[in-house]
Amino acid sequence: MSRTPSAALEAHGLSATLGSVEVLHGIDLALAAGRWTSIVGPNGAGKSTLLKALAGLLAHRGEVRLFGEAQAAVSARVRARRLSWLGQSGTGEGSADDLMVYDVAMLGRLPHQRWLAAPSGADRDAVERALRSTQAWDWRDRPLGQLSGGERQRVLLARALAVEAELLLMDEPLANLDPPHQADWMQTARALVAQGRTVVSVLHELPMALAADELVVMNRGRVVHHGACADPATHAALEQVFDHRIRVHRVADQWIALPL
């Protein structure tokens, strides 16, 4: 690759329906490569739907481009190697209770493995790195069903990290995590960006969201603002979308949002 494309993901006129209701209305968005972008907004704003559509997991109208290529033209396997997606916890991984933590994380290596081939040394290393980075390595021989909500989330996070994709899309990755592990996750996101990867996260924890490079503010199926986290205009959009029930403050070198 001779030049780094400026946008990791682009959406042009992206619309999507759930059932018979249109939940995304013609979204145009470009997410910068090598940056951490947070998507925020009230419940039902369409954040998760947008993330799924961007990941190619949802039928939609309009166009999505992955590193400059039309996503529809990229094969599922190639896409799976370049883009890792972590869904909201509690939405569908319930039947994995009988899988061992190590085997769950190893599923992240599926896009890299030849079918039915035994995991390579590189696969094992990636899985160990991922499990260690979420401090889940010690449970590798335990079934997922025996873990608490937060512990599960750290295993699922490790599964997504084990793909070692250039682009990581995470839907509420902090759900059920205690404050130290939320801080760990933030460092992981920072470290990934430092390695040149792109992180996109849907977050409800506004101080965490404001620690990102860029913020996408959504409301009612539209992007109402997209800007740098430090930009006062971004803060204004954030306050506005939450009905001025919050205010953004600068405390100890971090942006935080306090309820009014």
Partner: protein, 336 residues
């Protein structure tokens, strides 16, 4: 890492095989003439024939049918992401019994008829009925993409075909007893030909299911995650449904409707070792074989020289096991 875990898996597999072989040998000695036939088989041609042509294929057949059901159960539970899923879920059981009822009504005769044309006809009818019912379910569900639709369609097909079978039995009551024999399940008429068919189908199904097992692992994390991993879910799901229909159809055609083996085998395996679907499927087949062979031996031995229909026995044992499971899960405060 995984060496301790792998050892556990291998140990369970080896244990199931050894136990199976021991029971197979034991099974050669059970029958109306008892162990005597086994001892005199070396110099008495009649005794040899009893052991070689009746007891051995029957015992082996019970193992093979159980293995097919265990395999189908593990595939069904993974495919439908439900630990209570059962190989008969897509309507194969009611399809098979309807087809057998039709065959009996049209051609007369009885399930216990030893005439090979009759046997072949009923076996074929059961197989065709089982597979046709699954195809009907798939048509109603418009494919394999939506699991819930598939389950509902399976229930509908099961109920409607079951009602049709009941209508036929009311119209021609003389087939009732013969049909009941099929519905209860029996290994009594399994010969070498049936063993060969089940072994061939079993080998193909095992290979396919094992090769497709990573899809089931991916699906356990949810449909969207599985697709995000680049798995071509459509085709692989269809192939897994085919494995399910083929394995169940082959078992049902040879031994009738044997309850609970397909449901209980994967459960028993999981209660010993938690592992990926590739291993679970192989272990469930070994466990299912062992279960049905043990149940068959019990059915032959409990009230010897008479015997119980093995399906009745598996239903009673399987029901008790589920009750125990429910009790244990309830005590732990978890759901099934």
């Amino acid at each position: 890492m995984h060496s301790a875990h792998l050892r556990r898996v291998l140990l369970l597999g080896a244990g199931l095989l050894v136990l199976g072989a021991a029971l197979l040998l034991f099974g050669l000695g059970i029958g109306s003439t008892g162990f005597q036939s086994l001892l005199s088989a070396r110099h008495d041609p009649v005794a040899l024939q009893i052991v070689w042509d009746i007891r051995l294929p029957r015992t082996l057949g019970a193992w093979l049918a159980g293995a097919l059901l265990g395999l189908a159960g593990a595939v069904a539970q993974g495919l439908f992401r439900n630990p209570l899923a059962d190989p008969y879920l897509l309507g194969s059981a009611s399809g098979a019994s309807l087809a057998v009822a039709l065959a009996l009504m049209l051609f007369g005769g009885s399930v216990t008829s030893t005439q090979w044309v009759m046997r072949l006809g009923l076996t074929g009818a059961a197989f065709v009925g089982a597979v046709a019912a699954v195809l009907l379910t798939l048509t109603l569900a418009r494919g394999v993409q939506q699991t819930l639709r598939l389950l509902l369609a399976g229930v509908i097909v099961g109920v409607v075909l079951g009602a049709a079978k009941d209508l036929i039995t009311i119209a021609s009551a003389d087939i009732l007893q013969a049909l009941q024999g099929f519905v209860l399940g029996s290994t009594g008429l399994v010969g070498w030909a049936a063993c060969a068919v089940m072994a061939a189908v079993g080998a193909v199904c095992l290979l396919l299911a094992w090769a497709l097992a990573p899809v089931l692992d991916g699906l356990a994390l949810g449909e969207a995650t599985a697709r995000s991993l680049g798995l071509p879910l459509g085709g692989m799901r269809a192939a897994l449904v085919a494995v399910l229909a083929l394995a169940t159809g082959a078992a049902v055609a040879q031994t009738g409707l044997i309850a609970f083996v397909g449901l209980a085998a994967p459960h028993l395996v999981r209660s010993v070792v938690k592992t990926t679907h590739a291993r679970l499927i192989v272990l469930s087949a070994l466990m299912g074989g062992l279960l049905l062979m043990a149940a068959d031996l019990l059915a032959r031995w409990l009230i010897a020289p008479q015997e119980l229909p093995v399906g009745v026995l598996t239903a009673v044992l399987g029901g008790s096991y589920l009750l125990w499971l429910m009790h244990r899960r309830g005590a732990k405060g978890g759901g099934l």
